[in-house]
């Protein structure tokens, strides 16, 4: 798990001087970021591209807990949650898979991963990790 956090920070380090322009590079697939923006705007969860970036960074800077899901036959994932309001999920390459508003009554990342038999580790988000994103945000 620590390896993924290192990869996440390395990926952000690579774009930190131009984060608003290069935020799409942090996503696993080309074009995925734009599609996620469109979906979130359609759902009324964000105002625009910059708002999505701010909400994503805010979630990482203020994350209370993480859920790490280890898989035998697919990518491992880690989900950072902020006060049951927003979540950001990375894959084992430290790339963003999604960043989304948590909706009451919707299936949680934890419930979903248990259902597909992932090995789960839950914990409090590392303070250094949070501080990194707090600095990045400012």
């Amino acid at each position: 798990m620590e390896k993924i956090e290192k990869k996440i920070i390395t990926n952000f380090e690579n774009v930190k001087y131009d984060i608003y322009t290069k935020f799409g590079d942090l996503w696993e697939l080309d074009g995925s970021f734009e599609r996620h923006i469109e979906k979130r705007i359609t759902l009324g969860h964000i105002d625009d591209r910059d708002d999505y970036i701010v909400k994503t960074l805010d979630c990482l800077a203020n994350s209370d807990n993480f859920i790490f899901a280890e898989h035998k036959n697919s990518w491992d994932n880690i989900c950072y949650n902020k006060s049951k309001s927003w979540a950001v999920i990375f894959n084992e390459n430290g790339k963003i898979m999604t960043s989304y508003k948590i909706k009451i009554g919707s299936k949680s990342f934890f419930q979903a991963q248990i259902a597909i038999k992932a090995k789960i580790k839950k914990g409090i988000t590392d303070e250094k990790f949070r501080r990194y994103f707090n600095r990045l945000r400012s």
Binding site: E28, L29, G31, S32, R35, H36, E38, K39, T42, L43, A69, H71, S74, W75, N77, I89, N91, I96, M97, T98, Y100, K103, G105, S106, K107, F109, A112, Q113, A115, I116, A118
Partner: protein, 85 residues
């Protein structure tokens, strides 16, 4: 608890924006699971047809593949029961 209209909107949005390894297979599945009590509704059945087309084209390699397999199972199961009924 969300009403049917809200869940249908979520389902429609999930279908419209899906692409392989979108990272939200569990949200897509979760939305459809919320519609299980409403499977007799024609709007659910129409959206299910679109969802099946999306699943057919999907080339996800990560856990999304597993979630979409489960989604397909739920849809086909619902359609089987409605045809039998």
């Amino acid at each position: 608890m969300k009403n049917l209209e809200d869940i249908l909107t979520d389902y429609e949005v999930d279908i419209k924006f899906w692409s392989s390894d979108f990272g939200e297979g569990f949200l897509f599945l979760g939305t459809r699971e919320q519609l299980i009590p409403y499977e007799a509704d024609e709007r659910v059945q129409e959206l299910d047809k679109l969802a099946l087309k999306v699943i057919e084209k999907d080339k996800s390699k990560g856990s999304d593949k597993l979630f979409l397999n489960e989604l397909k199972h739920i849809i086909l199961n619902a359609h089987y029961h409605h045809k039998v009924a």
